[in-house]
């Protein structure tokens, strides 16, 4: 009975608060990440030489350096050059840039898998390069990149727990505080694990829905 009251009065409100913070971290980071990924992906395929090199360097850096290190650079490192970010802002910035780098890999692969004929046809119809990319190539490529990008969003949900390490108290952080006060580490972290499992499962369900919804009849098996 006492246990139940503890869960009802302390654990539930705290975790609910943490859950909303987590969600507030994940949703904008996922959107910014996708936008960054699409832009960087396009630049890596269609950019001129210096742009391409810069975009590639961005990807190597942000995929190669652990996310924790990146978060520490944004939050603890930037004050060194007199830039002060709130923990929440630093976390969203770190998540967006890192997942943008990963998204760009999927977008790049998808862009390169679109048949050359599509591009030639657009050119022969007098499309400008920008118009061709945005109205012919990208709509097809994004559909192909979706499974990979979806995985990346699932990763983002899990990595959002790292925000706790730069003092942005979200689901994991709330759990750590609760557990440190009550010493019920096993129970509380099992509950938190269940929350993340629910989030990742719901997200993968939603993502496969989106994939189905965006499917164009007749465009499923167009390889080569």
């Amino acid at each position: 009975m006492e246990e139940w009251l503890y869960i009802q009065n302390e654990v539930y409100p705290a975790l609910l608060k943490g859950f909303w913070v987590s969600l507030a971290l994940i949703v904008p980071s996922a959107i910014f990440g996708l936008v960054i990924g699409i832009i960087v992906g396009v630049l890596r395929v269609y950019g001129n030489r210096p742009v391409m090199a810069a975009a590639n360097a961005f990807v190597v850096l942000f995929r190669g350096i652990p996310l924790v290190v990146q978060l520490f650079i944004w939050y603890f490192g930037l004050p060194y050059i007199k830039i002060y970010l709130a923990p929440f802002v630093a976390a969203v910035l770190g998540f967006s840039l890192c997942s943008g780098a990963y998204h760009s890999e999927y977008v790049r692969g998808a862009l390169m898998s679109i048949r050359r004929g599509q591009m030639l046809a657009a050119q022969s119809l007098g499309f400008s390069k920008v118009k061709m990319i945005f109205s012919i190539i990208l709509p097809q490529a994004i559909r192909r990149a979706l499974p990979g990008c979806g995985n990346e969003i699932i990763y983002l949900i899990k990595y959002s727990s790292l925000a706790y390490m730069i003092t942005c108290v979200e689901l994991t952080g709330e759990g750590k505080i609760l557990a440190s006060n009550s010493f019920k580490y096993t129970e509380i972290f099992l509950i938190i694990g269940a929350c993340y499992l629910a989030m990742t499962s719901v997200a993968s369900l939603l993502l496969s829905r989106v994939e189905d919804r965006l499917r164009l009849p007749g465009f499923e098996h167009q390889r080569i």
Partner: protein, 225 residues
């Protein structure tokens, strides 16, 4: 920023010692992941429905929960609840290894499924038991096919190992943070830590590509279908 450079030069040997810790954690975790991942993959492909479902739940569990939460659960929770006294270093290897076993099992499963089915049939026709056929015919081919996936997994675990700093494992990140809070040269030191990780990633994927070449069987490079 000459101060920054001096801080980096002073801290470099200390950080490099940390990279030894990181490498041991990563190797331990990948080894554990391999030992658990291969039987999991074989079970998921060839096992009975009940076994397959159980392995599916295991994989879902370890792939769906963040590393940080699992580290806290095992280190602060289960170790105390079960009254076992493990160091943060050991827990880091175990947790990273369990997560990796879930991911590696999927890599191996894909590799096993990509083999032509005739291989197993032929082995059975020669009178091999299922166990023998899987361990002498299927796995030697599947493990070779899995190396590219394995090299991805290496770079993921290497980066994830930085999270074990949360338990106080004295790896690269923990040491960089420790020196940074003392010298106030945060940006240069974290950047150095990042560069060390980049170099380790590059070395590991390079090494695995060499391994892939070394173990290639001539004539079998195209799955031999």
């Amino acid at each position: 920023m000459p101060e920054g450079l001096i801080a980096i030069a002073d801290a470099l040997p200390y950080l490099l010692q940390g990279s030894v810790v990181t490498v041991i954690v990563v190797f331990g975790a990948m080894g554990l992941g391999l030992i658990l991942g291969v039987p999991l993959a074989v079970g998921q492909v060839y096992g009975r429905p009940a076994l397959r479902r159980a392995i599916g739940v295991y994989v879902w569990f370890f792939r769906g929960i963040p590393l940080l939460v699992l580290l806290f659960l095992f280190y602060f929770g289960l170790c105390t609840a079960l009254d076992v006294n493990l160091s943060a270093f050991t827990v880091a290897i175990i947790v990273l290894g369990l997560i990796s076993s879930a991911y590696q099992s999927q890599i191996f499963r894909g590799a096993i499924l990509s083999l032509p089915e005739g291989q197993l049939k032929a082995a059975r026709a020669l009178g091999m038991s299922d166990f023998k056929a899987i361990s002498f015919i299927v796995l030697p081919q599947a493990l070779r096919l899995a190396i590219p996936g394995w090299s991805n997994e290496y770079s993921i675990i290497l980066k994830d190992s930085a999270v074990t700093y949360a338990l106080g494992v004295a790896e690269i990140m923990a040491r960089a943070h420790f020196v940074a809070t003392r010298t106030y040269q945060q940006l240069p030191l974290y950047f150095t830590a990042g560069v060390i990780f980049l170099i380790l990633t590059w070395m590991g994927t390079r090494g695995l590509r060499v391994l892939e070449e070394k173990v290639r069987i001539p004539g079998y490079s195209q799955h031999g279908a």
